[in-house]
Symmetry: C2
Subunit: 293 residues, 2 copies
């Protein structure tokens, strides 16, 4: 970042239903497109935004984080959320906060964790639960929980990833659990909590898909475990609908470690870097360049 | 109902955002309009529907109840929800259940209670919380709870009702309470739980408005209490936005009492019927002809 500019962190929430995902695409309604064009109006120059999680079409976010570099002397940062929200004129996206980023902060490369939730609406369709995928078939919760537990840890998740040239598929899945949540409406809602350093493309929806396949009895637990040995995307894993997925939170290290973390992430590990699992278990965090769900 | 017909109870949920309310209106998108036209396709004749709560534009429902009288011999009632949902082709309304109604059942006149919730999204706007009204100003929860408590009971709620010629405004507000609910997203959500035998037009949004006025310090508790003595709609009570309101449940008596309850409700009490409060407290339920929020 040039010394003459001020990096601003922006926290964003959106209902992904009517967006063609986060990433800007010509002629399509995207979160990045809306946000950048509002920012450009405010700062009177193009304002490219970097984001922590490039969510796919239909995926929601309640804790998305982005940054952009504002011209020095940008005033009234406290009022920026209100100005951007007024300019975007959309009820399905909201800038929650804007703040001067700490030294070394990069929304994408400084991130050390991403937390997602996935919601399944069972029994019936609740039109107010737009962030839950409707699932008609019976599911055994205990089998889904067993699947989640065996997938947790540092693994090569190639079977769960849309392939991307030269990108590693090793990730540290730190937390993955299922529970029924309290709801006052019709039908039960089953929610997965998923936390990792980062996720390869489509990984969360595939992790959930594996649990659903086991929960429906279509896939055995041993078969699910053996997916971790595969080195390419597996057709045994259903890709779950986008509308059940919500990015909840992006984690960053303490301010003092932001720049170092960004450097570590940029020196990204490629598939050639894959090392024996024992090595990774020795407190060495896996590295990745981003996150796309 | 003619002896040759079968009365069907239908449970419905909808996101009210894109509906001009429940009640059919020429040229407008309404819940009743969509449902009746799907029913007409199924039974091959006009199928007028009676509903428990005629929700206003923007109001949601998770537990709406309606009925219609089907031609005798209607088959596959279990599959009716699926057929109606396919015909309506709308993600914001869902028939949850269809069942042959017990003898004497009338969705509107047999109902003995309606339960609503009202949600206020505080701090920030959450684009996924479409069933919560965003409220920017500070609110004192204890003052709102105090207001709710003093409004609870059998009262003439004229100050809280849009006037309707010849209709009583006496209602028994059985439960009214406020709490913060657990949310995983940004901002806090404050939820009112409101239960009465029935509500006069706009009553729930006015009850909530009175609590908000007290919670903001714009109205004193004594002034709020004195509203119960007024005999016409009060301008001191703000009408809260429709999008925070959701009809959660309609209560009915045991099957044996359905017809008697419908008769009691139809012999509706008019303003001339207003009697001393002591009389009502003697276990005598107030009567009303319906519910519109």
């Amino acid at each position: 970042m040039a010394a003459s500019r001020t990096r601003i962190r922006i926290d964003v929430a959106y209902d992904g239903t009517e967006f063609t995902g986060w990433a800007k695409q010509p002629g399509l309604r995207t979160c990045q497109g809306l946000l950048e064009s509002a920012l450009e109006t405010v700062v009177r120059e193009p304002a490219p935004v970097t984001v922590a999680g490039r969510t796919d079409a239909g995926v929601h976010a309640l804790g998305q984080v982005a940054h952009f570099d504002a011209p020095e002397g940008i005033a009234d940062i406290d009022r920026l959320p209100h100005r951007l929200n007024s300019l975007m004129r959309a009820s399905d996206i909201a800038v929650l906060r804007a703040s001067v980023a700490p030294e070394g902060f990069d929304a994408r490369f400084s991130a050390t964790s991403r937390r997602y939730r996935y919601r399944l609406q069972l029994d019936t369709r609740n039109p107010l639960a737009k962030d839950a995928a409707h699932w008609r078939r019976e599911l055994a919760l205990h089998a889904m929980q067993d699947t989640a537990e065996l997938l947790t840890g540092l693994h090569d998740f190639a079977a769960f990833c849309k392939p991307r040239e030269g990108a590693t598929t090793i990730r540290e899945l730190r937390e993955f659990s299922w529970r029924f949540i309290q709801t006052d409406g019709p039908g039960r809602i089953l929610e997965a909590h998923v936390l990792a350093d980062a996720f390869c493309h489509s990984m969360v929806r595939s992790l959930v898909g594996a649990c659903v396949a086991v929960g429906e009895g279509r896939l055995g637990l041993a078969a699910a475990e053996s997916l971790l040995q595969e080195r390419r995307r597996s057709s045994a894993i259903p890709l779950m609908p986008a509308n059940g997925l919500t990015l909840m939170e992006v984690g960053y290290p303490d301010d003092a470690d932001l720049a170092a973390q960004a450097e570590r992430t940029k020196a990204r590990r490629t598939p050639d870097d894959v090392e024996p699992r024992s090595r990774y278990h020795a407190e060495q965090p896996s590295q990745s360049t981003g996150d796309q769900q």
